[in-house]
């Protein structure tokens, strides 16, 4: 099963690369686009999390090693150390995800307050602080 996967991987290497990186970068760009053009605060927050998602996906992506297994020495894999994918990015992405979650939560609470005060969620109407 592992071997078949490796063959497939080798055959469609470029496409897979394109798939993974393209998806990630695409997500980032979509997120940025939402942040930069959408007027609704909630949509902007959503854009933020899409952007983060893209980065997280990149993290996981670069961690992958051809034909690697999950970095867990569960029974049967005691000495598969050389066939395992890079564990560090996974650990990092865990942290990154949690932080992203926290940021999103704070952002949403801020949105709630802004809406309460301004009775609108349009970012270009919330400009009481300027110059």
């Amino acid at each position: 099963m592992q071997e078949e996967f490796n063959e497939i991987f080798l055959k469609y290497h470029e496409i897979i690369t394109l798939g993974v990186y393209g998806t990630a970068i695409g997500l980032m760009l979509i997120g940025l686009y939402a942040i930069l053009t959408k007027k609704n605060l909630v949509k902007i927050v959503i854009g933020l999390s899409i952007f983060d998602a893209g980065i997280h996906l990149l993290f996981v992506g670069i961690g992958y090693v051809k034909g690697g297994t999950a970095p867990i020495f569960s029974p049967g894999y005691e000495n598969a150390g050389n066939r395992m994918v890079d564990p560090v990015p996974q650990a990092l992405v865990l942290t990154a995800i949690v932080i992203g979650f926290a940021v999103t939560a704070v952002a949403l609470s801020l949105v709630i307050r802004l809406y309460k005060h301004h009775n609108t969620a349009k970012i270009d109407q919330i400009k009481s602080l300027k110059w």
Partner: protein
């Protein structure tokens, strides 16, 4: 039990986690405990500073894994200096805000102390950590606390400022994260020393990209133009002590990040010229915009941005004395701007419409605050015999030694602008007819003590700068030679017994 850098982190955390519990015992505890922690920070800092000046470096490794593998905390004279500065400021800010009378209705006062304390902890963490991802984590701690503190007042504008800060701040974290990601794929490690050791392996294009991402990321924290749109709002809307903490502590951490990246990690020379240009633009635009402000704290915010630009210029010159001057300027800016924010926020409380215009002749009602503010503004525009003068002098000398006459002229022209808007305020404070005020909010004695300590420091350093120049020279030298840093971290990282 031996005092080690980790205390900077665990003690505040214990306090933070424990405060919700112990504040059930007595209501005052949630105000007092942070103060105790800050004071303990000062003790740590002094012990460590002493040690650093003997040893040169202090490193502590976490979880017993040696440098490249585990996370390690490193204290160089540079970071040690910054950390002690931050700790002292933190304690003073706590002293200033302790028993802060509620003038505007605020959020849960219980959480204020915690967040303030953890923001300072995060800043310290940024400075002392030796691992780049860990730096990112601490940056996030700072960001989240800063945002929630910015929107602490329950007025309408707090939330707005907070949201802007969060929006831009999340950009910063994303950029840094991306940079770390690319960096990891290239060098396969997260330890800063090892990264800078292997940096020469990275191809030029990718290196430049990483550097750019880092610059944008930390530039947002360091209030680089045009990344500083959040700063004026955040400074002006945050509670007074928090604004002081922003100017004195958070920005320093951001600058530290930028400098650490450019000086230690990368070996790109063009970065220095970039620093000069960026700093110049930042300074000019910020100082210009400050002139016509009506909100005092907003004006101070712009001026603080301008000072940061000056710091970047000084770092960009890159010689030993320039770095020394930059450190001196950071020190000055930390104390002076904190003083200004402390006094300025009290003045703002007492102005009817929160503008400079309505604090005419308030000096009669608030003599001490006004004179402290005057001292602060004299110092920040660099008039002798206050400490601001020396840093400006050293920067100019450093620039002159590299024959950068135009740079000198630009800096001085900008300081004339600075004089204009600061002295406008001072003359309004003192020499305008006394308009009747809403009930005067007088600062409590501990706030006065905190501000007085800062003012006295300003004057003493101004009269006798040799008190700290020694430390600063040492720090500058250590910052500039990174080979010894790498060697120390990677080879002989002995634990402190």
């Amino acid at each position: 039990m031996v005092i080690t850098p980790i205390h900077y982190i665990i003690v505040p955390l214990i306090a933070a986690f424990a405060i919700p519990l112990i504040s059930k015992i007595h209501k005052e505890l949630y105000r007092i405990v942070p103060g105790i922690v800050m004071f303990y920070n000062i003790i740590i800092s002094f012990v460590l500073m002493k040690e650093v000046n003997e040893v040169g470096y202090i490193s502590e490794i976490i979880a017993g894994w040696e440098a490249p593998w585990g996370i390690n905390l490193i204290i160089t004279p540079f970071s040690g200096f910054l950390v002690s500065l931050i700790s002292v400021l933190g304690f003073l800010i706590w002293l200033y805000q302790y028993r802060f009378k509620k003038v505007i209705d605020v959020g849960e006062i219980k959480s204020y102390g915690i967040m303030q304390m953890l923001m300072i902890t995060g800043a310290i963490g940024i400075i002392i950590t030796g691992d780049i991802f860990n730096l990112f984590v601490f940056m996030e701690i700072v960001a989240i606390t800063a945002v929630s503190l910015t929107s602490f007042y329950r007025g309408r504008d707090g939330a707005e400022a907070g949201f802007k800060y969060l929006l831009i701040g999340s950009f910063a974290s994303a950029m840094v994260l991306l940079a770390i990601l690319i960096l990891y794929t290239q060098v396969g490690t997260l330890n800063m020393a090892e990264i800078s050791e292997r940096m020469h392996l990275v191809p030029q294009g990718i290196k430049a990209t990483i550097l750019i991402l880092f610059i944008v990321g930390f530039g947002i924290e360091a209030e680089l133009f045009p990344l500083n749109g959040w700063a004026p709002d955040a400074y002006s809307q945050a509670p007074g002590p928090t604004s002081a903490a922003f100017a004195g502590i958070v920005v320093k951490a951001g600058i530290y990040g930028l400098i650490r990246i450019i000086f230690t990690l990368f070996d790109i020379d063009g970065a220095f010229d970039f620093l000069i240009i960026a700093g110049l633009v930042t300074m000019i635009i910020a100082e210009f915009s400050a002139v016509k402000q009506t909100n005092l704290k907003r004006m101070l915010a712009y001026s603080s941005i301008g000072q940061m630009g000056l710091v970047l210029i000084a770092f960009g010159i890159g010689t030993k004395e320039a770095v020394f001057a930059a450190l001196f300027l950071m020190f000055n800016h930390a104390i002076i701007k904190s003083l200004l924010f402390m006094t300025g926020s009290i003045l703002m409380y007492n102005s009817k419409d929160k503008t400079i215009l309505s604090i005419h002749g308030i000096a009669k009602k608030l003599p001490y605050v006004s004179i402290l503010f005057a001292i602060g503004s004299f110092a920040i525009v660099g008039l002798p015999p206050f400490s601001g003068f020396w840093s400006k002098l050293y920067i100019l000398t450093a620039a002159a030694n590299k024959e950068m006459i135009l740079l000198i002229i630009a800096i001085l022209a900008v300081s004339i602008v600075e004089i204009v808007y600061y002295f406008r305020v001072v003359s309004k404070l003192y020499f305008a007819e006394d308009t009747e005020h809403i009930e005067i909010f007088k600062p409590s004695i501990n706030s006065l003590i905190a501000m007085g300590v800062l003012a006295i420091t300003i004057i003493v350093i101004g009269v006798y700068p040799d008190l700290i120049t020694g430390y600063l020279h040492n720090a500058a030298d250590m910052l500039l030679d990174k080979t010894s840093y790498i060697k120390f971290v990677l080879n002989n990282n002995v634990q402190i017994q």
